[in-house]
């Protein structure tokens, strides 16, 4: 009887242990070493999630994920990084967190707007969030082949080099880019109005002097709308506010590229370009604006468009 009861007790105890193991399995596994640690700035953000999903699909290595949206502490980040052979950071928050702890670790970043502003090491690789300028111009030209002159407001402090490169690329593609430098956002309205007299469209770029806040964005969109000049831009969300054509990077493709870089690093291949441009594009065409402004567009290019707003 005593033995029987002991056996029952043991069963009960084992059941409790199994139950506890089931409940706490994720936190137990989180401390195990893994090949790749994916740190996501916030897995609830759709674009970050798309990158993470494709990254995991694209790699044969074991992957542990860490969502900074859950607010883990520095100690946990440090512990997980120490057990990984490579760290993949999705978004700037994830990159900053890993930079503090991932000394001498290979890091692959993605989904960081203007990655050049962040500190990098010799072990940093990644996929930029901005498409190659020529790729963007080519898409504009595919959709609006009759557009010949495009206007840009830029600042000498942030985007002068980019502007000069874009101007050169556009010339090779038969487009003229006309730019006006801005030193203070209070000048935007006056300079933009002058620029719009000479161009077929306005290309809105992510320059903090031109567009320091949301209000400035809406102001630019409003001025262009009143002048019936299409706004070409880089962020999908701007199409809802009135941009006519948006060409942005395709997030799932960024995830696949990051996985490819990670595989090359872990298999010891030489990496020629440490930071790649995104290989996939996503296009949104605001057809309502196309019709309102009476724009001619290339119907054959509709096959390139992901989303048509009507």
């Amino acid at each position: 009887m005593r033995f029987k009861i002991s056996l029952n007790k043991m069963h009960f105890f084992l059941s409790i242990c199994l139950f506890a193991l089931f409940v706490f399995q994720s936190s137990l596994w989180a401390g195990e070493p893994s090949d790749i640690l994916v740190i996501n700035s916030n897995a609830n953000v759709e674009k970050y999630k798309a990158v993470q999903d494709e990254f995991i699909k694209g790699t044969p290595y074991s992957v542990t994920t860490l969502d900074l949206g859950d607010g883990p502490d520095g100690e946990k980040i440090e512990r997980l990084i120490s057990g990984a052979d490579l760290v993949c950071c999705i978004g700037a928050k994830a990159y900053r967190a890993s930079y503090r702890h991932a000394k001498n670790k290979k890091v692959v970043f993605s989904s960081i707007i203007n990655w050049r502003r962040l500190p990098m090491t010799d072990d940093t690789y990644g996929v930029s969030n901005e498409l190659h300028t020529r790729m963007t111009i080519l898409m504009y030209r595919s959709i609006f082949p009759k557009m010949k002159k495009i206007g840009i407001l830029y600042s000498r402090a942030y985007t002068l080099q980019w502007f000069n490169d874009a101007k050169k690329e556009a010339e090779e593609l038969g487009l003229e880019i006309i730019g006006r430098p801005i030193s203070d956002s209070s000048h935007t309205e006056r300079v933009l109005n002058g620029l719009l007299d000479n161009v077929d469209a306005y290309w809105l770029i992510p320059d903090p002097t031109v567009m320091p806040e949301k209000k400035a964005l809406f102001n630019v969109l409003d001025i262009c709308d009143k002048r019936k000049k299409p706004v070409l831009s880089y962020l999908d969300a701007f199409s809802v506010f009135g941009a006519t054509l948006v060409v942005s990077a395709d997030n799932p493709t960024i995830g696949r590229q990051a996985a490819g870089i990670a595989m090359d690093i872990l298999s010891g291949k030489e990496i020629v370009d440490k930071v790649q441009f995104p290989a996939g594009s996503r296009i949104t065409l605001n057809m309502k604006k196309v019709q309102d402004y009476g724009l001619e567009y290339n119907k054959n290019a509709l096959r390139l468009v992901n989303r048509i707003l009507k």
Partner: protein, 296 residues
Amino acid sequence: MTKPSNNVTVNIAMKLYKVLFRPKLSVIVLMLSLVPLFFPLIADVPSESIARNGKTMVYFYSSETNINNYTSLKTEFDKYLSRFGSYEFQPFNDRKTFEQEAKNRNDALLILSSWHFQLIKAQFGLVPLRVGLRNGNYQQKRILVVSDRKYNNSIADLTPVASASSVPHTRSVLEKVLRKHQALDSLRILPVPKDIDALMSVGFQMSHSALVTDHSLKNLADLDPVLHEKLNAVNEGVESMLLMMAAPATAADEVHKLVTVIENMPEDADGLNILKMLDLDGWKVVDPSDLSKLEA
């Protein structure tokens, strides 16, 4: 002194077990009575036949593009087709789900690639009804392109291959184009949304090669002659047909009416624009000679 407390623990555990895992007969009867309510969800009955409310469906999946334009495609097709009858367009981004939904459906028209059609036609009892046209052509070739850096005809020099087709389709074409079946396993494919992305990715060194259609390569020559100059076509595949309309041999009359509606889309300005989202501008009847080419 320890025995009673042990017995109490065991008794509590046994009672818990009985409550949790040995439900009364009445509960079992009640649960069994609920089964018919969930029958359509668990039985092998096409759920669409219940959910679609008698509509004739167009099921679309293309193994030859990765572009995610499904929301706009569905909105535009549904709006257009509603002018002609009780029709609905359902695009799929996943081949497996498409096949699960499309199998044994006499009330659905399928739009799919000719490569995919060949793979499932026997299993699904499909007949080809129309083939898509682009600038009067119903066929295209796939071309393997590299940048102008040195290429030693080795598989390693091609990795990764950017492609706007699904990975299985890309591998299938590469097997024919390269005739190096064994080494192909080591070739990494980089799926991109569109052919133009694949071409640009070679031009800007995000990939070492790209598998694209002859049509896209020609478009690039018009759009960006400088970039086109930098690319070299190293191998080309055989001709294949563009997207096809197909249905089971026993398809309902309404499916054939729907074929006519879609066939006539190029005659309507809105309809033509929608077809252009599929990179088509017309349809033609599939000739027996076309079929033999497809077999080849």
